[in-house]
């Protein structure tokens, strides 16, 4: 009995997803390009030409990737037993993924607070958050010291010694 199984391994799965994302991206980009305004100076279509070519290229390349991966999976599945692969979900939210997401959120807050409360304070919060994330509450002394020293050190280094402007705290002005 010939069973036509389709069981990609992890890398093939990510490649298939990437190909799919790529196709969507290519089509979206092409549509956006077509809705760009015509140029008032020079040839009206000029600004669209290059992006249009890119959008089409992206879609074609992603489709090619999709086809390539599908063919690979078919070839592999014929040889391999599908039960060898332990199927997790497509997005197992592993520990390090959560850390990345938290870091990104931390970074967004960093950006939001940056100009408002000044470099030293916002960096202290950001770095403290990151260090806490990785070192846990027990190491709070390390976290505190490193964040403080880093924020102050970099501030003094850049602001005073190197002449690069960094935002100051609102009232204290440091």
């Amino acid at each position: 009995m010939k069973r036509d199984t389709f069981s990609p391994n992890a890398l093939q799965r990510t490649s298939l997803i990437s190909a799919g994302v790529g196709i969507v991206l290519g089509i979206a980009y092409t549509i956006l390009t077509l809705s760009l305004p015509y140029a008032a100076i020079g040839r009206p279509n000029a600004p669209k030409a290059f992006p249009l070519a890119l959008g089409i290229l992206m879609t074609l390349l992603s489709a090619a990737l999709l086809v390539q991966q599908v063919m690979k999976v078919r070839a592999d599945s014929a040889i391999r037993h599908p039960s060898q692969e332990k199927k997790k979900g497509i997005f197992p939210l592993e520990h390090h993924t959560k850390q990345i997401i938290i870091t990104v959120i931390n970074g967004v807050f960093y950006g939001l607070l940056f100009s408002r409360i000044g470099y030293v304070l916002s960096t202290f919060i950001f770095l403290g958050g990151e260090l806490l994330l990785f070192n846990g509450k027990r190491k709070w002394r390390t976290v505190l010291i490193v964040s403080l020293i880093f924020s102050l050190f970099i501030y003094i280094l850049f602001n005073k010694l190197l002449g690069v402007y960094l935002p100051r705290m609102p009232i204290i002005g440091f």
Binding site: L25, A40, P51, M58, G107, T123, L127, E130, F158
Partner: protein, 493 residues
């Protein structure tokens, strides 16, 4: 020759040394390599004059490469792709108790490789620059196409993915106000995007943030056990006897590979390793601690990084990630890399070259006795170091652009870099595309306008035709190889 007087000023020597030490420290951190080091430390150079800035950066560049080798030899964790070959024989040497010799030969080989490469560079850069002046818009377009195609085609792994990376990079490059027509493209109404996305931010995001994100998976390893007590760091006469010829052979090889777009330190060091393996009288020792197996890739590696500067300085096309960052720095300093730079600002170029000589010497000197001290950095837990690198990246980004918007762009591309790494999509075609994308499009349009809307201008001059053929070869050759090899396996040969 004025360059030497500039470079030899005490203050500049100090900068080279500081840059070198910092670069070495960052280069030693696993997962972060010279590109990250230069990207993160770059903003420190902003308030210095252009010469001092370049000199410091040269120091960082070199330092990071020396540092990357330390990690490879002592910990089997290469700092970047180019240091991988150093793990083949370097780490076994450490395990055999020969860490001192390994560190020494790595420093010596890198030093000689760098000097030879710098000499070659001095000899050929002016003629190349003169040749480059002949490049007009059509030639530049063909050149960019070639560089991108070669980089995408030769990237590790799946070639389609390489081209997809290139296309993504080009799409990123189109964001902003189109210079020739003034209309906004893909800015989504965000003011800060009108100037486009600075490629330096993309580089910092992918090389620093992306790498740190990738390391989150392995960050559990608390303290790393590093050999801290070293004997005298030097090599035996026998080591030298076996190594000097491989070093001399690998240096020019490394230089020329480094100068090619699409190939860099990684390819250079691997090729040198393979080369010496085949030529060696002790082939069985390779992989077990053969000293020439370490010397060759180290020499090639340094030579390649010097070689990579040639296309960057003369044509404005960076030959590697690190040179891309240096190019960004040059542009921020107001110097536009290209043949005109040689004509208009020779002092700066020669200052840079001279500082490379001097940097080489200083770092070799510094690294040998200081290895013990520097290695202590490796025992700082990564859980503390990596957040610091994140902090440095944000500061660096702000120093470049003074815009908080770039924090978000940094995060976005950092995550993108991480996702690309998971999907095994190579990042170098993407970065090169972001850098040259704008110039590429503008050269095309300019050439097209000059030629009155006909395409034959792209095939008019011998340079253009040669580049076009090279492009076809770089795309076609690997395809040909795969087709031929699968044909052979099917025929059961």
């Amino acid at each position: 020759m004025q360059g030497f007087t500039t470079a030899l000023q005490p203050i500049n020597i100090m900068w080279v040394t500081i840059g070198g030490v910092l670069g070495t420290i960052i280069g030693m951190l696993p997962g972060l390599g010279p590109a990250t080091g230069v990207a993160v430390l770059l903003p420190l150079t902003f308030s210095m004059g252009p010469v001092a800035a370049l000199i410091t950066m040269g120091g960082v560049y070199y330092g990071a490469m020396f540092g990357g080798s330390r990690a490879s030899i002592l910990l089997n964790t290469p700092g970047d792709g180019a240091a991988v070959a150093a793990t083949f024989d370097g780490y076994p040497m450490t395990r055999k108790g020969r860490a001192e010799a390994a560190l020494a030969i790595s420093a010596i080989a890198s030093f000689i490789g760098g000097i030879i490469a710098t000499v070659i560079m001095v000899l050929i850069s002016v003629p190349v620059a003169r040749f480059a002046v002949k490049f007009g818009a059509p030639e530049y377009f063909q050149l960019y196409v070639f560089a991108l195609a070669a980089t995408a085609s030769m990237s590790k792994g799946n070639r389609i993915k390489g081209f997809i990376a290139m296309t993504i990079g080009l799409m990123i490059a189109t964001i902003g106000i189109d210079p020739q027509s003034g209309i906004q493209r893909f800015t989504f109404g965000i003011l800060e995007l009108q100037a486009g996305i600075d490629f330096l931010i993309v580089i910092i995001a992918i090389f620093a943030l992306g790498e740190v994100f990738k390391s989150f998976q392995n960050i559990k390893e608390g303290k790393i056990n590093v050999q801290k007590d070293f004997g005298r760091i030097w090599i035996t006469r026998e080591d030298w006897r076996r190594s000097w010829l491989p070093i001399l052979r690998s240096s020019p090889l490394g230089f020329f590979i480094g100068a090619l777009p699409g190939a860099g330190g990684t390819m250079a060091s691997l090729m040198a390793y393979n080369n010496e393996h085949q030529l060696s009288k002790h082939p069985d020792e390779f992989g077990e601690g053969a000293v020439e197996g370490l010397a060759a890739p180290e020499a090639a590696n340094n030579a390649a990084s010097v070689g990579a500067m040639i296309p960057m300085l003369t044509l404005g096309i960076p030959g590697s990630g690190t040179t891309a960052v240096m190019m960004g720095a040059l542009m921020i300093l107001g110097l536009k890399p290209g043949p005109l730079l040689f004509q208009q600002q020779p002092v700066i170029i020669w200052g840079l070259i001279a500082s490379m000589f001097i940097g080489n010497i200083i770092l070799a000197v510094v690294n040998i006795p200081l290895a013990k001290v520097l290695v202590r950095v490796l025992s700082v837990p990564p859980k503390v170091l990596y957040p610091i690198v994140l902090g440095l990246s944000f500061v660096g980004a702000y120093a470049i652009s003074s815009s908080v918007m770039d924090f978000y762009i940094l995060l976005f591309f950092g995550v993108l870099g991480y996702l690309l790494a998971i999907a095994k999509i190579p990042t170098s075609p993407l970065i090169l595309a972001v850098i040259v994308g704008n110039n590429m499009e503008q050269s095309f349009r300019r050439a097209y306008t000059i030629s009155d809307s006909s395409l034959h201008i792209f095939f008019d001059s011998p340079i253009s035709i040669t580049l076009f053929i090279l492009t076809l070869v770089s795309i076609g050759f690997p395809i040909l190889k795969t087709v031929l090899s699968s044909y052979r396996t099917r025929k059961g040969m």
